[in-house]
Structures are given as structure tokens and as C-alpha cells.
Amino acid sequence: MLSALLLIPFFGALGLLCWPGELATERIRRAALALLGLQLLWSLRVLLAFDPGQAGLQLQESFAWVDSIGLDYRLGVDGLAMPLVLVNAALTLVSGICTRDLSQRPRLYFALLLTISGAVNGAFLSENLLLFFLFYELELIPLWLLISIWGGANRGYAATKFLIFTAVSGVLILGAFLGLSLFTGQADFSINPVTTAQLGMGTQLALLGALLIGFAIKIPLVPFHTWLPDAHTEASTPVSVLLAGVLLKLGTYGLLRFCLGMFPEAWALLAPWLAGWAAVSVLYGSLAAIAQRDMKRMVAYSSVGHMGYILLAAAAATPVSMLGAVFQMVSHGLISALLFLLVGVVYRKTRTRDLEVLRGLLNPERGLPFTGTLMILGVMASAGMPGMAGFISEFLVFRGSLAAFPVATLLCMVGSGLTAVYFLLLVNRAFFGRLAVTPPSGDAVADSRLEVRLPAVALRETLPALALASGVVGLGVLPWGLGKLSEQATTAMAQLPALVAAIQGGGLLS
């Protein structure tokens, strides 16, 4: 069943590339959307088959692939991966839908989109470290191509920077996985905390450190974040949606699954430092967002800040904080995708994202009132306003982490307050006041008389954002569904350090 989540996008991509004859862009787009729709439906089918009452991996599929190097094709899904698989399917579909006016190479574009989606599914479902790494690296090149071919004016620089950073991330992760095999003397690349417990603490810390930095680049956490704002700024809207909504989650997923999941003892040792790192990341991301004048960079820096919450939650590793981490991954996926979509609409209509230029976009007749309304909803959700997804996730993270790391949690709460600051700056500058889409000329009278003629936003352009906004509100009002889905897995994960300690002490074996 799980293999279909890989086969649909991969064979779909292959089919699109190899289909004989000329195909009109719209036909290619429709075919890709059909495949992505099918992937979403299949993900929902997996959800129906998934038993949330079980903590472990389910619906497992496996066969030996390259036995000699320990590379097995083993897939499984648990309460941590299931929501992310759904988010991946939904957001890739949204990316496909909001891809319009594709001027070149539509086949390649949609094939890359499908490849990324399949690779992300593979990474979330892998039960084998090498298989995970394979998929983790597989999404790298398509994303690099998506930025460097369909990106903005500085796309070459941004794409190369992204490639270098994430390639280093991949090297570190692969190094850690190979190191694990080397030090344990086993060619077993299954995810098993008991294996790592056999290692000395120094070795564990070294391997965990490599993994941490590898995933910190991907998430990204300060100071490994510099590739993200550039990549977002140059990427097209659908790619930004995918990048923020799905691909960053590979890093946080890796953090929970491999760092915490495989090195629980070393993780517990590093936890206070990690909480501090989270606070720095949150505060830095938030303060940097305040200083931005490009709307997209502001949203990108908000991502840097909000990813810090997940590190805080993972550092605390309590059942509540772990559940909060999953909520944060999902809600950040939806909210940041929503915000990037809306920034994309603003850019398409006004040809600028400059907060020093844009004014009054909420103008009911000549502006982008519905886009502005959704933007206000999005920023409220991001700032953790009750009734929306951001509140549930931040509340759970803070509630679960406060007892363990009160100072770091309080600092992260300040970061949450700063989210309101920079997003209110954004809304106030770009959406309130008299409508303007050109830089001030210096003559206030002339500026106040400028007639603005923005094209209207069609309903079909707003529908993806509306769907995401519904998800944000839906998750905020009815969080129990996701909670039920992940609670067993996250609770089990929170108990890993104690479990491993008990096993080592012979408590469970005797």
C-alpha cells in the first residue's frame, strides 16, 4: 500500500517525460494534477488503513534490495510520518494548482514536482537509514532545478547556495549513518535506538552532532539558515510553497526520527543546549523578519523562527511537547504555504513585494481585498491566535517545554510575540492606507493622486489559498483528529530515553 505513494509520483514523472509527441502545457498540467490528486487520494486511503491506537510503524513493506551494504527497501508509517505524508500530498497538489503562466519546459517542471513529492514520501516512510538518505538526496536536484530554471533574477546564486548547503547537510547525515555502522560493526541500517545505546557517549555525541548539523541546515536553524531566504526570494511561488510547507519538514522529521529517535541518551544530555539553540533561532529569525522589506523574505525568516519551536519541543521531549512538535510541523506547513501563496498573488498582481512600496492592498474595489483578508488570517494563525492551527501547536510546545526549560520556553514565547510584531508591520504597511504599488516619488500630492489599476484576482487563483486557510482554521478549531493520529507515536518517542536506560540497566530484560 505504501509503495503506491512512491510509484504514483515516480512513474507519473517518468510518464510525463517520456510521453511521445508534443503536449500542450495545460494538458501536461492537468495530467500532473490528476497524478497529484491520485496521490492525495491514496494518502487518504493509507490514513483510513492506519490504526492511530498503535505507537509503532504500521503497514510495513519490505524486501532486501542491496543486502551487502545494508540497503533494504523497508517502508512503514507511524503517527509521526502519517500527517507529514498527508501534508506533502496536499501541498504538492496546491503547488501544481497554483502553477500558472509556465513559460518554458512544462514537462520537466511537473516531472520534477512529482519527483520531489515521491522522494519526500519515500523519506517520510523509510525504515532504513540508507533508504532515507537516498530519498533525502533525491529531492535535492529537482528542487535545485526548479529554482535555477524557473526562479527569479538571482536564481543562479540562490540555487547554488541551496545546493551547497543541502549537499553538506547530506554529507553529514550520510557520514553519521556510516559512522554508526562503523562503530557498531553492523551493516544494519534499521532505525534502532538500542543499537546506538551500545556506543560510548563520546561516539554517540559525535554522531548525533553530525546529524544535528545536517538536519539543522535543512530545517534550517540559525546559523545554518542563510540559504533559505535567498532560495525563497528567487523561487517561484509554487516552489516556495513546497519548500516551506514540505521540504523543511524533512529536517524536523529527521531531527525527531533520527536524532532523538536513535540517540535518546545523548539527546537528553544535549537537551539544555538544544533548547538554548532553539531560543536563539526563534529570536534571531523573528528579529531578522522585522528588519525585512521584501514580503517573501519576511515570511522566509518567520519560517526560521518557527522551526525553532520544533527544536525546543524535541529538546524537552515530553509527551505534550512532542505532540506539539507534530502539530507545529503540520500547522507551519499549512500556514507558511498559505503565506507564500498570498505573497505570490500580491507579487503577480503588483509586480513587487517591497514593503516600502506596497500600500493599501485591502482597498475593496481596486486592491486585493480577499487576498488581504486571507493574509490577515494567515498572519494571525502564524502569530498563534486562538482558533487557528498556530495556537494549538505553540500552546502544546510551550506547555510541554515550560517545566523542562523555562527560560528557553519564555524566550520562545517572546519570539511568538515578535511574530505578531513583524506580521502586523507587514499587514499595516502593505494592506492599510491608500492603495499604492509604486515607490513614493517624493511629491506627496502627486502620489496621493496616482490612479492604480491592478488586475483582479480570479477565484481560481484564490481557491488554493482558501483551501489552506480552511485547513488552518479547521486544525485550530478541531485539533483532536491530528492529536489522535499522532499521540501514541509521540508519547512513545518521548519515553525513549527512559526506555533505553531501562533496557541498558536490564530493567526490561530481567
Binding site: S103, Q104, R105, P106, T350, R351, G360, N363, P364, E365, R366, F432, G433, R434, L435, V437, T438, V445, A446, S448, R449, L450, E451, V452, R453, L454, P455, A456
Partner: protein, 386 residues
């Protein structure tokens, strides 16, 4: 696959010209129109004035109804129904399937508050106070609530009567203007009006024809008729109502809340009312339909009565029906410059063809006084963007 070449994107902004005060003086003295001459301008102005005429007809009927039938009514809940209290009318009213009479009240309050011209002078006169005393004495005999209020707030009922007098006067003014604008539309259809210049001339002649028409107002209380604005006051259409209306609504206006916040304590609003520049000729059409923007109500009303030709023109725009009210407001502002143009032309102290230096100087002073106010108005709308 080769990239698909994209058509050049249309400009997102348009900036009209801003003529200087000297340019405006020369334009006025040469008898040229303020609004650029173009077929598009002609159809916009005539059509928007036609819809305005329809709306003014409703405003006028309602204001006169309010002044006469809702006189000193402390709770005028049904004042917008023009006396028709049928369930169907009330239902339509509740569903807001109606004209926004609130805008008429807004203009009336602006007139009352700015208080310029002969009407305001009469409202502060002894004769008016005597009329008020007689009306209040009669009214309080039959109305216990007013009888209780009057001794406590002796100026309250007088102020309400002043307000009612302005309401009635505005109703009479708009009656004339409504007929004039509807006649203009007919004249354009007949071919008698075929340019902006002839539009201005048509309006000027209409204003001049009505200039001396008397403005009077009487109310009936308990079967007895009382004059509020008696014929003896000598109030006339042009000098006592039209000019104060132009001053209050076209020029001064009120600094309503909207996209701009005003801080009166920081002197952002002039303490001298005469310096106000918030009227129709200064208004920014772009925020139309934003909250707290009263002209939005007028634009909604005109939208209900838009002639087909103008509607089709608007629908052909980049936003179609989406920004119709802003476009109406833009056309309306052009039309108001034409009306102002007609008012200026009709009030020159001497014919523009005069050769006498003294008369020429007087005309120039008249034009310069107007130009000084108009050069900071929204003259950017006078160009034809094509």
C-alpha cells in the same frame, strides 16, 4: 520548447496632469472648459449626471418629506420611507434594497455645519428666532416629551428647526439640479449637447434660469401652517442655497475617517473651517467603498441608476464590475468639475468678452480666487487618459 513571448504588461498606475493656478486662470478667462474635451468625457459626464439626477430626485423627495412630515420628530425611525409604511417597503428597506438617504443627510449636515451664505445668516436672525418661538410654543402644547425637553435645553428645538430648514432648502436645491441633469441627458440624446463645452453651457444656463427662484419652507402643526423660511426672508436659489452648497459639499466637506486618519490636535485639520479641503473636488476616488468613506453611499446609489452606455464602458475595464463604484466616483468628479465650471462661468461679474480694463481685472480676480482653490483640488482627473 522556446519560451512563449509575453505581451508587454499594461502600466499599473496612471497620473493625470496637475495644472497650475495661472493655467487655470487663463483657462477660465478664455472660456475654455476645465475638463478636457473628448467624446469619452462627454459620455461619462452626461451619463453619470443622469444617474446622479435620478438619485437626486429620490434625495430631494425624501429631504422635503423629512422636513415637512418628520418635523421635530424625536425618533424619526421611518424617515427614509417617504410615508409608505407598507410591509413590502419596510422589508425592502431592511434588506437595504433602497437609496442611501444617509448621504443626503451627510450633505445636509455639512451645509448646516459650514453655514455660509444667506440661508445661514437668516437662520441666525431675529426673525427666524421669532418663527422658532411660535413653532415651539405650538408644538410643545401637543407633545409632552418636547414640552419637557424645551425648558431644559432651550436651544435644542431651535437647532433642530435650523437643521430641518437646511434639509428642506437642500431638497429644493436638488429638485432643480435633478431636473437639470435629467434634461441634460435628454439634450445629449437629442444632439443639442455634443461636447463638454456645451455641457458646461447647458448647466450654466440652467443655474442662471433658476438663480432667482425663491426658497421657502412652511410646516403644518395641528392644522396651522407656520413659516420657517418665509418669502419675506428673500432667500433665493443661487445665492442662498446653491453657493453655500458648493462651498460646503464641493469645496470644504468634512474630514471623514477612512484611509486617512486626522489628528486635529496636531493641527492636521485646520482650526479655520474656511480652509477645509475635504469636499467632492478634493476627494480621492480610490478608497471608495472603504469603511467610513461617505461618498461610497452616493456611488452605490448611482450604481443602481447607471445608464447602459456608461455601464458597458465600465464593464470593459480591467476589473469589470469589480471596481464600478470607484469608476463612477472618478466620472462623478469629472462631472462635478463641469458643474463647478458652470457655476464659475455663471458668476463672472462681467462678460468674458469685455474690453474694459476694470471689468477685465474684476473677472481676473474672480477667476484667480477660484483658481487658487482649484489648483490644489483633484485636477488630475481633468485629463483624458484615453
Amino acid at each position: 520548447m522556446r519560451p512563449i513571448p509575453r505581451s508587454p504588461k499594461p502600466p499599473l498606475t496612471f497620473s493625470g496632469g496637475l495644472p497650475s493656478s495661472d493655467d487655470l486662470v487663463e483657462t477660465l478667462l478664455a472660456g475654455r472648459t476645465l475638463l478636457a474635451e473628448s467624446p469619452d468625457h462627454l459620455s461619462q459626464v452626461v451619463d453619470v449626471l443622469e444617474s446622479y439626477g435620478e438619485v437626486l430626485d429620490a434625495y430631494s423627495i425624501n429631504l422635503i418629506y423629512q422636513a415637512e412630515k418628520q418635523f421635530l420628530n424625536p425618533f424619526p425611525v421611518f424617515r427614509f420611507l417617504d410615508g409608505d409604511h407598507s410591509p413590502a417597503k419596510i422589508w425592502r428597506h431592511l434588506l437595504h434594497d433602497r437609496i442611501n438617504f444617509e448621504y443626503a443627510e451627510y450633505c445636509q449636515k455639512a451645509m448646516l455645519w459650514h453655514g455660509t451664505g444667506g440661508l445661514d445668516a437668516y437662520l441666525d436672525s431675529e426673525a427666524f428666532a421669532a418663527n422658532c418661538a411660535a413653532i415651539v410654543a405650538r408644538k410643545t402644547r401637543r407633545d409632552p416629551l418636547l414640552a419637557a425637553l424645551n425648558p431644559l435645553f432651550p436651544q435644542f428645538l431651535c437647532e433642530l428647526i435650523r437643521s430641518a430648514a437646511t434639509t428642506h432648502a437642500l431638497g429644493q436645491f436638488w429638485r432643480v439640479m435633478s431636473d437639470l441633469f435629467l434634461d441634460l441627458a435628454r439634450a445629449e440624446r437629442d444632439g443639442r449637447v455634443d461636447s463638454i463645452a456645451t455641457v458646461v453651457t447647458f448647466i450654466k444656463e440652467g443655474l442662471v434660469a433658476a438663480a432667482g427662484a425663491p426658497i421657502t419652507y412652511a410646516v403644518e402643526i395641528g392644522g396651522t401652517s407656520f413659516w420657517v423660511l418665509p418669502p419675506e426672508a428673500g432667500l433665493t436659489f443661487l445665492g442662498d442655497v446653491a453657493v453655500p452648497y458648493v462651498e460646503a459639499v464641493f469645496l470644504r466637506g468634512t474630514p471623514f475617517l477612512g484611509t486617512v486618519s486626522f489628528n486635529a490636535q496636531a493641527q492636521q485639520i485646520s482650526p479655520d473651517q474656511a480652509q477645509f479641503m475635504y469636499g467632492a473636488l478634493y476627494a480621492d476616488p480610490l478608497p471608495t467603498m472603504g469603511s467610513g468613506i461617505p461618498p461610497s453611499l452616493l456611488m452605490q446609489d448611482m450604481y443602481r441608476h447607471l445608464p447602459e452606455r456608461l455601464r458597458d464602458r465600465y464593464l470593459a475595464g480591467i476589473r469589470g464590475d469589480g471596481d464600478m463604484r470607484v469608476k463612477i466616483c472618478m466620472s462623478f468628479q469629472k462631472a462635478m468639475f463641469c458643474v463647478t465650471n458652470a457655476a464659475i462661468a455663471g458668476t463672472f461679474p462681467h462678460p468674458l468678452t469685455t474690453q474694459a480694463p476694470g471689468e477685465q481685472a474684476a473677472n481676473r480676480a474672480h477667476a484667480a480666487a477660484w483658481a487658487a482653490r482649484l489648483c490644489v483640488a483633484r485636477t488630475d482627473c481633468l485629463d483624458d487618459p484615453g
